[in-house]
């Protein structure tokens, strides 16, 4: 089997030389680390790498905002593609101007992210592995076994570490509000650290509940190691159970919270 990096470089090269795209967005080694890169010519591609996972959807959006007519190739893992789809639903990216290079994740990566869909809709590179449920994580199971008071104590402990850096929100691809409610003094008192977390954390969790695509970048960005994805994975499961809906699956499918009960019913307990 061909080395995935080689294969990606090949495909990206084809897109560039064929003139189908003006640039390919991926990762490259730079300054001793790895960061997003816009590859313009076939020669640059030798520095293209695939790891570690990096949220390219946000970068894609920035590039499109600046260059709305540019055609962009993007290397997308499952979560990147889902992020782009959710962004497209909210008028943040133009999917028609994107050529996606689908990269499937490995089994180890799927377990690490507790991901149900570690692959994009079309896989160009890599082999599809089955996703896992969030309960594969022992910590998630533990949380579910606890009573309300214990859970509250747990989250109280975790959220008290928050330094209100907004890293979670900034990294999140589906947090697209230009003016964020978490910076509105009506909801979150300015100058208070840690922030009143019912206002901050709970509101953010509710806001992304029907949009979260499970990329895990929030937790990766958090300097205080707050286990955000432990909560969000459960919320995603709930959305799946209540509405048979998954964010990022279909650009034509609006959030169930936006539709009527005829369009997206609330499944009764027996139906879930």
């Amino acid at each position: 089997m061909q080395d995935p990096v080689q294969r990606v470089r090949e495909i990206a090269g084809q897109l560039l030389t064929g003139g189908q795209v003006d640039g390919v967005l991926g990762l490259c080694e730079q300054h001793g680390g790895v960061g997003p890169c816009l590859f313009r010519g076939e020669d640059d591609l030798s520095s293209l790498v695939l790891e570690p996972k990096y949220p390219l959807a946000n970068v894609c959006k920035l590039i499109q905002a600046r260059y709305p007519n540019g055609r962009l190739g993007v290397i997308v893992r499952g979560c990147d593609e889902r992020a782009l789809i959710e962004m497209a639903k909210r008028e943040q990216v133009d999917l028609d101007k994107l050529a996606l290079i689908g990269l499937a994740c490995t089994e180890a990566q799927a377990v690490e992210c507790r991901c149900r869909h570690p692959y994009p809709q079309r896989i160009d590179v890599g082999e599809r592995v089955e996703g896992v449920a969030p309960t594969v994580d022992e910590n998630v199971r533990k949380l579910l076994e606890q009573g309300f008071n214990e859970r509250l104590a747990f989250w109280h402990h975790e959220f008290s570490k928050c330094i209100k850096c907004y890293g979670c929100r900034n990294a999140c691809p589906v947090c697209i509000c230009e003016e964020c409610i978490l910076e509105d003094e009506l909801w979150v008192q300015p100058g208070v650290v840690p922030p009143d977390y019912a206002a901050f954390q709970f509101i953010r969790a509710y806001h992304i509940s029907d949009k979260c695509i499970g990329c895990g970048e929030c937790e990766a960005a958090c300097p205080m190691d707050i286990p955000l994805t432990r909560l969000y994975a459960l919320v995603r499961e709930t959305v799946r159970e209540l509405f048979d809906y998954e964010a990022g699956a279909d650009v034509a499918a609006p959030s169930p919270l936006v539709t009527t009960l005829e369009e997206t019913p609330l499944l009764e307990v027996g139906e879930r």
Binding site: N170, E179, E185
Partner: protein, 592 residues
């Protein structure tokens, strides 16, 4: 359209703060920037409130609240005396917010609002606190608790009042012309009714002639008038009416706008017509369900639908001796669970017609319940039975079988009530099918932004309370477009729809209550969530100098607030129910 920012973290914090402050409610009518001077008027309502709640104590308490400039109690706030006192106090104490704590706003709110206006205060600077229905009357045996609750409710009212803003109700004018889509009996009746009241009517009909489904009918029930003769005077009146413009062989291509000003484009394939109307009536009717694949239709030439039978009857040729009608074909089944309503009537009509013409004819009606409601239809049912029409009940799990190779010869049916299979000779088999929605109803529904029900027919605003209009203002509905209707029902509905349409046109304007939503451009991200949530399609995304932002059509907005709760960052707010107003009420409750 280039977005000005590169990333959130690069924006200056101060810049953002300023934007949030000036954004506020985004309402340019925020004329009153003075500190609030709230007046609180607590009503005894005779003994109704005063007998349980210690009103003077509540007044005392109100005086201690910040921003309350004046408080008093009234025996009956809604009396002449009470209202005068409020008006005088507004002037004397320079009050710029008024709270009345008494009964439910659903009774007297307009009264107090008018009093405020008379005293020179914008009526939206008024807040009602319910301490009767929601307090004294339901806690009659707990005066201490009721008094504490009254205080808490007043405190919450004061908290909201601080953030009330003056609002202007505006009147939106209505152009006195109507579009009627569909020239059947419903459409023509509606058009004439409006034209006779002095309104200009544009009647658009897809076919080459007016008349709709009735053109294909032989005799109408129950009078057995010739359908053509029944229609002729109606058509003549429509065609000769000076205020009705009829567009034949034409279709509506687009309808833009909202009540009072709909911009309509009609085309007949060669030419286009454009005009403006104030209201729209949907009278597009329905079409007969063609039962392809059922009982040998259409291969067997003597298996026909009801309209095909009407055609045969109109031509008046030699009539077959053995007629078998199968009711509920394609109706009341899993794919189409509804009842076609008048197909039984039509079947009875023709069964009686055939028998009266030729008493020796054998007519069978195979049925799964006969819908013979009301007086005429029931009477006809009996007449049919008296004439010898045989009714055989069959069940859906053992449907009849039409036997014949090049044509139908007999029909086998399992008689559900006697439990035997019968073989009926058949020279003609009539498959009685229901009406189904028009093929272009989806296109029309999207064009007008009006909903269709699960069956595909148009969906009225409320089944009982608003049966011939849509939730979208200015668009009305009648006839089989809404649900298969017979002539009587279609005509009644047409009168109702045209009467409803006439109201705003006659008045000349519609008044919009100022509890509508509005979007702050500086905060809006243009994500479009609000557009999807609005049940009235009152919001759209518009490209402005700041990019694509949401915009609420205040004439269409009904003030439900769905969009506000759906908006993730508070860009969308509702006048009179802003986040700030409600959160301050929550805060007031928590701190009491």
């Amino acid at each position: 359209m280039e977005k000005a920012h590169i990333s959130r973290s690069q924006k200056l914090a101060g810049d953002r703060q300023i934007r949030r402050q000036t954004a506020g409610f985004g309402n340019p009518a925020r004329a009153n920037c003075d500190l609030p001077r709230i007046g609180v008027f607590v009503c005894h309502c005779g003994n109704n409130i005063g007998g349980v709640v210690r009103v003077p104590e509540v007044v005392e308490y109100a005086r201690t609240l910040p921003d309350v400039a004046y408080a008093e109690d009234n025996m009956y706030s809604c009396s002449e005396e009470g209202l005068s006192s409020i008006k005088e106090s507004i002037v004397r104490h320079k009050l710029n917010r008024v709270i009345v704590a008494s009964c439910t706003p659903r009774t007297h709110e307009p009264l107090f609002k008018r009093a405020c206006e008379e005293a020179g205060l914008n009526k939206y600077l008024f807040e009602f606190v319910n301490i009767r229905e929601h307090c004294s009357w339901i806690h009659m045996h707990a005066p201490d608790e009721a008094t504490e609750k009254a205080k808490a409710l007043v405190r919450m009212g004061v908290a909201k009042a601080r953030y009330l803003e003056p609002q202007e109700e505006f009147q939106s004018d209505v152009y006195p012309a109507a579009l009627v889509i569909g020239g059947g009996v419903a459409g023509m009746t509606a058009a004439l009714n409006l034209a006779n009241q002095g309104f200009v009517v544009h009647l658009v009909e897809r076919e080459a002639e007016l008349g709709g489904l009735l053109r294909g009918v032989n005799k109408v029930f129950p009078t057995y008038e010739d359908a053509g003769e029944f229609l002729a005077p109606l058509i003549q009146q429509v065609e000769n009416h000076p205020r009705i413009t009829t567009y034949l062989r034409s279709e509506v291509e687009s309808v833009e706008g909202f009540i009072g000003h709909f911009q309509v484009r009609v085309t007949n394939g060669h030419r286009e017509a454009e005009f403006e109307v104030g209201t729209v009536i949907v009278a597009t009717g329905a079409q007969e369900f063609k039962p392809y694949g059922y009982y040998g239709y259409p291969m067997l030439p003597n298996v026909v639908t009801p309209l095909e039978l009407e055609e045969m009857l109109k031509k008046g040729f030699e009539f077959p001796r053995n007629v078998v009608m199968i009711n509920c074909v394609g109706a009341r089944i899993a794919e189409r669970p509804y009842c076609g309503r008048f197909c039984c009537t039509a079947a009875l009509k023709n069964a009686v017609l055939i028998k009266e013409r030729d008493p020796r004819a054998k007519v069978y009606i195979l049925q799964r319940d006969v819908m013979a409601y009301g007086e005429h239809i029931e009477r006809h049912y009996r007449r049919a039975m008296e004439l010898g029409v045989r009714f055989i009940r069959y069940s859906l799990d053992r449907p009849p079988e039409v036997v014949g190779v090049r044509q139908a010869r007999e029909v086998k049916v399992f008689h559900q009530l006697i439990g035997k299979e019968l073989t009926l000779p058949a020279d003609l088999v009539v498959l009685v099918t229901p009406l189904v929605p028009q093929p272009d109803s989806e296109k029309l529904s999207r064009m007008l932004k009006v909903p269709r029900g699960s069956e595909g027919f148009f969906l009225e605003a409320h089944l009982k309370l608003r049966p011939i209009e849509f939730a979208t203002d200015g668009i009305y509905l009648c006839g089989s477009a809404r649900y298969p209707s017979n002539i009587i029902e279609s005509v009644s509905q047409a009168y109702a729809a045209s009467a409803k349409a006439a109201t705003p046109m006659r008045q000349g304007f519609v008044q919009v209550e100022a509890i509508t939503a509005f979007s702050d451009e500086h905060l809006c991200t243009g994500c479009g969530t609000c557009v999807l949530v609005c049940p009235f399609s009152a919001i759209e995304l518009r490209v402005g100098e700041n990019g694509q932002k949401s915009w609420v059509n205040a004439t269409q907005c009904k003030g439900c607030g769905s969009c506000v709760a759906a908006c993730p960052n508070g860009a969308m707010q509702q006048r009179g129910f802003t986040d700030r107003q409600v959160l301050s009420m929550v805060e007031a409750l928590v701190s009491s």
